[in-house]
Symmetry: C2
């Protein structure tokens, strides 16, 4: 039976923007590695595929009102690797603001020290303020970033392949540590990058980290179709998720790749209660903790228009919205416009709709209802699994693990034990051979 | 009583170039994180100040004959941090081949997750082949690299200071997560770098990692005098070490800094036996495992001349040596020339002299003799402690910890317990205030 793939998307106090203010929150632990290690251990007990860390090389603007600093994923996940044995470790890293040689080393090392559990969420970085931390006048435009991303991926793939699997000989008597005939320079000379190689470490357990992609723009979809092995995506409705799923799988096929080997994993942020009323009341409690100063600024980033000063209980001024063309990039823009068109919400209602998980699917219900919805998307051609984004941590994950997962297991939809050792094993992906072998 | 500072300098199978071929070696574990975690735990049991990892962003040329690949220090040390509680964690990282914003994040994170145990060995990268992994035609010249290093240090120091210590407020009721008046852009616009900031993470336990420096060239000494809090250095004789020590301390004073707050730590690679004869025999056993193909190539890198083809049992052709001026950079050149001038060795003898620890002080003796020599350098104005470079691991460290350290303790020269929690505590260094406070 086809199995769900489930990741825990880790965010300091939880995904709801007011999570750190919730009565159960422990915001004093947001910098405590033990807090994250415990979360990952709990996710591993629950047999999840992976934990996932977002990232960006700049400080978000609205740290005054929410726990929106950044945890550096390589160091954090290495410390998590040390106290776990099975769970995958997915780090977001930017092709725009890292050098390919440095990124290749970090992932190879994470894969070595975790015994083959590394995944790379490949991003080009959306936040324009990052440019100013790297000596640039302006954030490179979307097409330029994706141009570099394609070339970058070619380079780091070659670096990860540059030691063949059997290059490490370790013949003590003969005095041969490594067979240098099986270690290759990559000699890449491209439009934007020049990298000689080889990498300075032997090939890692998975060969390469699992390639994950998270942008749903046109450029993002084209990139995913060519390269991604797992795709994180944001959808508010089954219908939209189904359209995306079908589109991506057909693009993958058009690239000559097997659609079954590309896992589509939408985000889900569940508020869970023992009754539906209780779940809705919990969601409402979070909404009441939101702060408009934060929410309006986030909306400005999604839509490109500033609604501060408007009556929050008035309608969204639809005439002010930019067009899809004007926004150029940003799959989140489409998600928000879709909510506005479908629901015609007040500004406050729209802010609440986005407060839970920044545009991802927020849903409130009983464990049975949440399991039903997951199954509906999974069997309905909309998802191969989910990025689970608990509104608050760690309680919001505890209740999911204790009450939703048993139902999914009883339906035969999710594993009770790990079947393999690596993240590729969990996702059912093959280990790639070196291109030089 | 003044106390020794001792680090364990970790190298895959040990520092001797033939360590991986030694009968006790476990070269099949050179990529096993548990092997390094056990080493660090053993060093922590022995109450050492820190473990130290070298690094460089390219593959050394001679990996065929020795375990000369690279362990990526940030990931490796993060996984070590997770299984230790006190020992310092010093990572080498390059100011030439990393972006300051990325490096600042990695160290702040390592310091957070280790509870204040991070140290940065600041290097400009000596290996010219690194340039080709980063799109450059040529490795930048020494003066250019140091120019960038000075500016780089200014930038990352400002980034580490950019959140004042009390910027993190976490007022749940009032809805203030961080006091943005205490989070500062750094707005650096310099000759080589432009970085806006702020860093995207709160200030770390130590404020900044401990600043370590390891080059003894003229530029290196000037840099160390201005910035370093600990200095790693290579000397073959007490006299040379004493000259270096006096020179550095007087330069530090000339910069208006307190010489007592700059720890000078030469390398020492001890072969230890229960008799002196046994220690010498052990050293000889290692020398017999060396391979001229490896050793001659290493010598070429140190001296800039290729002696392959020469009779190994003939004299070093001194007339072929370049001048100090011609070598331009590289403190190791001076060390090797000094050996040649002092000892007039055959080529084979010179290769053996450098096989132990790449130019660092190699010494064979009983535990009592090793302790005597350490004390002589420590009390004789040549060292504030040592970077311990066991010729083989982990046995070469075990015998040092079990037999040499107890003697140093009985003489009151080395701690029996940690007195503090952070690497700054171990080294007796103050915690720097933020420049923005």
């Amino acid at each position: 039976m086809r199995q769900l793939h489930l990741n825990l998307f880790v965010y300091p106090a939880g995904h709801h923007e007011a999570a750190w203010r919730f009565r159960e929150a422990k915001p004093e632990r947001v910098l405590d590695i033990a807090y994250y290690q415990e979360l990952a251990q709990r996710a591993e007990e629950a047999k999840l595929d992976a934990v996932f860390f977002a990232d960006g090389p700049s400080l978000p603007d609205n740290v005054r009102y929410a726990s929106r600093f950044r945890l550096e994923p390589f160091t954090w996940l290495s410390a998590i690797a040390a106290v776990t044995r099975h769970i995958g470790l997915i780090a977001t890293a930017s092709t725009t603001y890292l050098e390919p040689y440095n990124l290749a080393r970090l992932f190879a090392s994470l894969d070595h020290l975790s015994g083959g559990r590394a995944g790379w969420n490949i991003v080009t970085t959306g936040a324009p303020q990052a440019a100013q931390n790297f000596g640039l006048d302006e954030h490179p435009v979307h097409a330029e970033r994706y141009g570099r991303a394609h070339e970058f991926l070619k380079v780091v793939t070659a670096l990860w392949d540059s030691w063949e699997d059997d290059a490490l000989v370790i013949d003590q008597a003969g005095g041969v540590f490594a067979d240098t005939d099986k270690i290759h320079t990559i000699d890449h000379v491209g439009e934007r990058l020049r990298v000689r190689g080889p990498l300075n470490t032997p090939r890692s357990p998975q060969g390469r980290p699992v390639y994950v992609q998270a942008g749903s723009s046109e450029d993002g979809r084209a990139f995913a179709a060519r390269h991604a092995e797992a795709i994180f995506t944001a959808h508010q409705t089954l219908e939209n998720a189904r359209d995306f799923y079908a589109d991506i799988k057909s693009r993958v096929k058009a690239e000559g790749r097997d659609p079954a080997l590309v896992k589509v994993l939408p985000g889900i942020s569940p508020f869970i209660g023992s009754t539906e009323a209780e779940a809705r009341a919990l969601h409402q409690e979070f909404n009441e903790l939101t702060q408009p100063e934060y929410s309006v600024e986030q909306l400005r980033q999604f839509l490109g228009i500033d609604l501060s000063g408007h009556d929050l209980d008035g309608p969204v001024p639809r005439e002010k919205l930019p067009t899809h063309e004007q926004r150029g990039y940003g799959s989140r823009f489409g998600v928000v416009v879709d909510i506005i068109e479908r629901e015609n919400p007040t500004i406050r209602r729209l802010l609440h709709r986005l407060a839970g998980a920044r545009g991802h699917w927020v849903t409130a219900g009983t464990p049975e209802q949440i399991a039903d919805r997951i199954e509906e998307w999974f069997t309905g051609g909309a998802a191969d699994g989910f990025n689970v984004m608990p509104p608050y941590l760690n309680g919001g994950f505890e209740v999911f693990a204790d009450h939703v997962l048993p139902i999914l297991r009883s339906r035969g939809l999710f594993r009770s034990e790990y079947g393999g050792a690596t993240l590729r094993d969990h996702y059912g992906l093959p280990r790639p051979a070196s291109q030089y072998a």
